[in-house]
């Protein structure tokens, strides 16, 4: 870790957003055009900002910035290679969850600040989704940290040098994937802001720079969450032959592609169904996953 880490995080964010743009086109079945994302961003930026009249203007315009900062903060705690470990806190795994926790207020602020009926409803729907996904997400981090005996992401990577955690704890992975998909507000968990639902929902009033920042933030969020999935479950940068950074990039891209591909092929569930399922199935199973993680730690990792 050097003093240049913050700048390197920005470089990773830019590269990651570009790659996710390409992946989106591949998954959608369009012929990939490398500059399409940049061109779309430039077109968005040429529009003026919009501000709904008589609304909470400052909430409305703070939301995209908060979303972007949350995404960048989450990305900063992902270690990419032994030489570039991101911001290497000894509590990095919780810090990642803490950064992701600020996605929720950002989306609520966007919906409430816009003050349009559909946007406000979108904000409330997102709160309901947060009640569903936040607990499994946080508990699974514990389940993975217990065998490593540390919350430092680099330690979690190193404990997987023999067997990746996905093989040891398949239950934890199965609970993590939907929660991680939900936190990036990708389909099928894009109820609050999908174009097909509520006509854009919480983000329907954004134009210009605001809209560009939100698109950028969502892609960075996907990179951060896929990177953390690779770190927690797929052994991070470890792998034969290839250099570590390349392994990490490949795993991250594979997870991001999986998220985008699976998400487009699943039906959207109603919010109340998601909440009920999360509290009846996901949370009890997450408790079981932690108990199981403790058992295998006692047996194999001491």
């Amino acid at each position: 870790m050097s003093d240049l880490t913050p700048l390197a995080v920005f470089a990773v964010a830019a590269a990651g957003a570009a790659i996710v743009g390409l992946l989106e086109q591949l998954v959608a079945g369009v012929r990939p055009a490398p500059l399409a994302l940049a061109r779309a961003a430039a077109a968005t930026l040429r529009q003026p900002l919009s501000r709904p009249d008589r609304r909470d203007g400052w909430l409305f315009h703070l939301a995209p910035g908060l979303l972007l900062i949350a995404a960048l903060g989450a990305l900063a705690f992902v270690p990419w290679a032994p030489g570039f470990r991101g911001i290497d806190l000894s509590t990095g795994a919780i810090a990642f969850a803490a950064a992701l926790a600020y996605v929720t207020p950002a989306i609520f602020m966007a919906g409430w600040g816009a003050g349009r009926p559909l946007a406000v409803v979108g904000g409330f729907r997102w709160l309901a989704l947060m009640l569903a996904y936040a607990m499994p997400l946080a508990m699974i981090i514990t389940a993975v940290a217990a065998p490593a005996g540390s919350l430092r992401p680099t330690d979690i990577v190193e404990v997987q040098h023999a067997v990746p955690m996905a093989l040891v704890q398949p239950l934890a992975l199965a609970l993590w994937l939907p929660a991680a998909l939900a936190v990036c507000f990708l389909p099928p968990f894009d109820l609050p802001q999908a174009d097909g639902e509520l006509g854009g929902g919480a983000f329907s009033e954004y134009r210009g720079l605001d809209a560009a920042l939100i698109g950028f933030a969502q892609r960075i969020l996907l990179v951060a969450v896929s990177g953390m999935t690779a770190v927690l479950f797929l052994g991070g940068w470890q792998g034969p032959l290839l250099p570590p950074a390349l392994w990490m990039a490949l795993k991250t891209m594979a997870v991001a592609g999986l998220f985008l591909w699976v998400g487009r092929r699943l039906p959207r569930l109603e919010v109340d169904r998601v909440l009920s399922l999360a509290w009846k199935v996901a949370n009890p199973l997450a408790i079981l996953a932690i108990a199981y993680a403790g058992l295998i730690t006692l047996l194999f990792y001491r």
Partner: protein, 107 residues
């Protein structure tokens, strides 16, 4: 620099970049007011999932104790496993109670 300082540097740079971007955007493109004269849709709202919210606030706190446990568990062994077993059982009872009271049914 320590890791926390680097984190603050990252926050400062990100906030600075966003502020500059907004300043440039407002200076060059301006702001358009839309939906002139309409009242915002901010009624008193019946949020149907409030029981989940109350459960969430209480249950969320569990994490504060799970994280320190996860870090020292490998060193303490069976004793810590018994403790966390008690902890998780108690919280599981909370979920079971809510389930039994039909508070987890959606709405």
């Amino acid at each position: 620099m320590t890791a926390i300082e680097l984190f603050f540097v990252l926050l400062a740079i990100a906030a600075g970049v966003i502020l500059v971007a907004y300043a440039v955007a407002i200076a060059t493109r301006g702001v358009v007011r839309v939906h002139r004269g309409e009242q915002p849709a901010w009624p008193r709202f019946h949020v149907h999932f409030y029981v989940f919210a109350i459960l969430f606030i209480a249950f969320d706190m569990e994490m504060a104790y799970m994280y320190p446990w996860a870090v020292v568990f490998r060193d303490l062994g069976v004793f810590a496993y018994a403790e966390i077993g008690f902890f998780l059982t108690v919280l599981g009872l909370g979920i079971l109670y809510a389930w039994r009271e039909r508070a987890l049914e959606g709405w």
